[in-house]
Symmetry: C2
Subunit: 180 residues, 2 copies
Amino acid sequence: MITRAEQKSARLRAAQMIRDSEIRITTEEAEKIDVVDFGLSHLETEGVQVLTLVQTERISVKVLVLFSNQTEPEHWHPPVGEDPGKEETIRAVSGTLYFYVQGEDTFKHGFLVKGKEEVYTLRHEIILKPGDQITFQPGEKHWFQARDEGAVMYSFSSVARDALDQFTDPDIVRIVKVVE
Amino acid sequence: MITRAEQKSARLRAAQMIRDSEIRITTEEAEKIDVVDFGLSHLETEGVQVLTLVQTERISVKVLVLFSNQTEPEHWHPPVGEDPGKEETIRAVSGTLYFYVQGEDTFKHGFLVKGKEEVYTLRHEIILKPGDQITFQPGEKHWFQARDEGAVMYSFSSVARDALDQFTDPDIVRIVKVVE
C-alpha cells in the first residue's frame, strides 16, 4: 500500500519528469497518473508511475516513469479469452533503461533488489537510450530498471488488462491500495 | 508524384520539426520518414509526412507532420477481412490542428483547398492543441489541416493498412510514386 501523500508526491514528481521530457500532457492527465507499488509498500524500490493516454478495446498507450533506481518487477502478459495476451513495444524517451529478458546471462549494469534475487530470474540485459525501442510478444517475461537519472518511456500495446498481468514474485498484488 | 529531391527535402524538414517537438528519433528513423503526396503532385498543399514507429499485426504508432498550411485529404479506414477497420487516436504534439468530422457545420478557422470544395465534404471543426487528442472509430471520415506554424501529432491505432484507406477525392492514389 501507499499513503495518499505518497501518491500525491509521486504523481507530482512523475508529472514533472514527463514534462521535462517535453511530452505535453494536460493538467487532467497529470492528475490521473497511476502510482503503482505492486502491493509491496516500498514504492521507491519496486514500483512504476503510469499515465494512460489511450485505452480502448483494441489498443493501449501509456507513458511510464521510473524514478531513480526504481525497478518494475518481473512479469508477463498472459492470454485472456480469445486474446493471445498483450503485445507491447517500449520506447525510451528520457534516461537510460535497463531491460532484462530471457536469454544468456549478460547482467552487468543493473542491480537486483536486495533479498529478492529469486523473483528476478531473467539476466539477459538490453539497454535502451532515448529513441530506442523493444517489442515483447505476449507471454514474454521481462523486468526493467532505471538508474540515478530515472527514465520516461512509452508503452504502445494491444489492449492492456493490467489487473491480469502475472508476476514471478508471489507477494505482488497488482491492484494498488491507497490509504489515507 | 514527387521528385527524389522533394522527397529528401521534405524528409529533412519533417525530421527537424519532429526534433523541435522534443520527441527523440534516431537517424535511421529520420531517414525513413514517408513523404505522401496522395498522387496529387502538390505536396505542400495536400500531403503528409509519416514516421512509423511501430507496425505489427495488431497495432500501429506513427508520428505525422503537417507543414505550414498543408492539408491531409478527407479519408476513412474501411473494414479489411475480419478487421472492422482501423481505430485511430490522434494526439497533438506541437502546433494547432484543425480536424473536420461528421456533424453540424462549424467551419471557421480552416480553409478549403482551392477548386476542391466537393471532395472536402466535412465541415464540423475540432481544434486540437498540444496534449489534446481525438479518437476515430473505424469508417469514420475525417480530414485535417495545419495553419502557418505546421503541426506534429501522434497516430496511435489498431493495425494500419494505409494502402487500403479510402478517399473522397477519386484522383487520390495512396501509394507514393517517387521519380528522379
